[in-house]
């Protein structure tokens, strides 16, 4: 459910009537969320931004057809996911290659920078090794802290399946990152 229901619903209704300022507020609220989700899915920052732009543009175009303004978040992430699927089909950028140099970490000093790069590489590798459907469920659950009901709506699956996918994704991450966690 939309935690920002009162004001967000109003923005969605105005945006659906062609109010670009209202839509700009929605972009401010959801841009980072969508881009972060897409970055976790693709592992490439520039690709995440391109797909996010495409997703917001489609949402703007199709916003008058949205019947329930309160479901805007779910609807927007559905569009974002489909855009990423289309982008993955267009290119093989989704290949499970280490996202070296794409994800930026904290760089507090030369030593910390080296350690951060190594840690990020392992995290990126572990995330990239997750199956796509597990990764999507896990990212929505951990980044957006979405309930299973919304995750299920976005991915088009049942709530129990969404819970099982999140469970499996966390088990795989623990298994993959055991050495990293106990080094």
């Amino acid at each position: 459910m939309n935690v920002h229901a009162p004001e967000e619903t109003s923005w969605v209704e105005h945006a659906a009537q062609g109010d670009r300022d209202a839509f700009a507020r929605l972009v401010d609220r959801y841009w980072d969320k969508v881009r972060r989700f897409l970055l976790g899915m693709s592992g490439k920052n520039h690709l995440a931004e391109e797909v996010a732009q495409e997703a917001f543009l489609k949402a703007w175009t199709a916003l008058p057809t949205l019947r329930e303004p309160a479901t805007f978040r779910v609807w927007l992430f559905q569009i974002a996911r489909r855009c990423w699927v289309d982008a993955r089909r267009r290119s093989w950028a989704h290949l499970r290659v280490p996202m070296e140099g794409e994800l930026e970490g904290k760089h507090d000093g030369p030593l910390m920078s080296i350690l951060d790069d190594e840690s990020q590489a392992q995290l990126q590798a572990a995330l990239a090794l997750l199956p796509t459907k597990f990764r999507a469920a896990y990212l929505l659950w951990t980044q957006e802290e979405m309930p299973y009901a919304e995750i299920a709506s976005i991915l088009g699956i049942s709530e129990e399946t969404a819970r099982w996918r999140v469970c499996k994704a966390r088990q795989d991450l623990v298994h993959t990152l055991t050495a990293y966690l106990h080094q």
């Binding site: 972060r36 976790g40 920052n45 008058p64 994800l103 970490g105 995290l123 999140v166 990152l177 966690l181």
Partner: protein, 453 residues
Amino acid sequence: MKCREVTYWLYSFRPRACWPADVVAHLQSCPDCRQVQADLKRIDEEIQQLTSAPGSASAKAHLLERVAKTPQAPGPAKPRAPFPWRRFTAYVVSAAALLLFGWLLGRRDAPEPTEDPKTIEVVREKLVDVLRDRFVMVPSSAERDLVAKLVQRNARLVQSATVKDRLDTLLDMADDFRTHVTTLLERGPRDQLPHAIELYRQLLNEAVPMQLQQAMPDERVELEAATRTRLTKLTDLGSAPLPAIVEEQRGAFQAATQKAVALLDRPPVVRPWERGESMSPMVALVQFAIAHSSEADALAKAERCAACVQRLTPVMMLVLSEEGTPRVELGQQFGEMIRFGVYQPIELATAKEPPQPVRDQAERILRDTAQSVAEMEKHLKDAPADVRPGLERALEATRKGWEKGKGKAKGKGKGLNEKGARLDHPNRGPRMFSVRAELSATPPIAPRPNRLL
């Protein structure tokens, strides 16, 4: 609670969720499960940090620029969905497959035909001959056989002295019809079946009951029983499977027989005779038998028989000229029909000084009959040698009767010669054989099967 059950809660639900008290108690007492909880918390936090790096500010600005240039979709209504060709095609293919399957199933379950379809010869090209500018229908082989038998029966009928003999002869004629109908049923042409059955019905309903009516009371019961027995036997037309339309004719024949049996003890109903009605050879022969059996007045009997003879004469000329027919016997019998069917009743009617109207009527009948006889005489002159005996025998058989009849009826004559032929007949002349020769040179017309029946 076991560690495995606790890890389920650890992996599936967030720490701030309402974990059961057992899970919380287990975590407090189990260091391994607490370690798993700590690892999961760390992974979640680090991955969240990994993807939370800020993006380029230009990307969002570029998005807003694109939004400013992009119009929205018109109206809240959903865009019209495209026609579901795939679903439509699937439905059509499924329906066609079901229809095909049903058709194949129906063909497999359909019973095999029990008999081969037989071509029924319904329309037969009838040969015609020209006799004195008249078209004469040439009877088929089956009809010729029946005509020959009916001539024989009629010759015997006119010479029968007792009711029993006449009744036997009429029943023999009925049996001839049964044989004829059986032949038509089995070999065709079946288009003649209704006509033959109707004549058979007339013979049984008019001639047979009249003979029983004329029988003496002491012999009637015996004759009626014998007639009933013979009629019952006539219903046997075989049991071979026939096409439905022909099966109806077999049923009609049997129904006519059963009706005749039922009407044996009732007064006969004789159809009134109409002068000048058109008669085929078989009709003329049946009417001759009915007239001779049912007509009580001698002059009326002679008149009706003379009319039948007139209709029969052209056909008899053809039959008597056909190879393979008993020409002499047929000629003899046809002459006897004229002698005993026409001349003898006239002799009886004019035996005792009849009134003038009777004499005039008798003379008219004689003149009409004389035309038929004169026709035979003319043809006799040009007939081939093998045809002559039949005609000679017919003329010989009529001569005695003619002499008697002419002697009684001759009064105010109208130009009859000694042989009874009218001298001023406009169309007299021996044309029959010459015309037959012309027709024989003409190529036959191919038969046309009628497929409507």
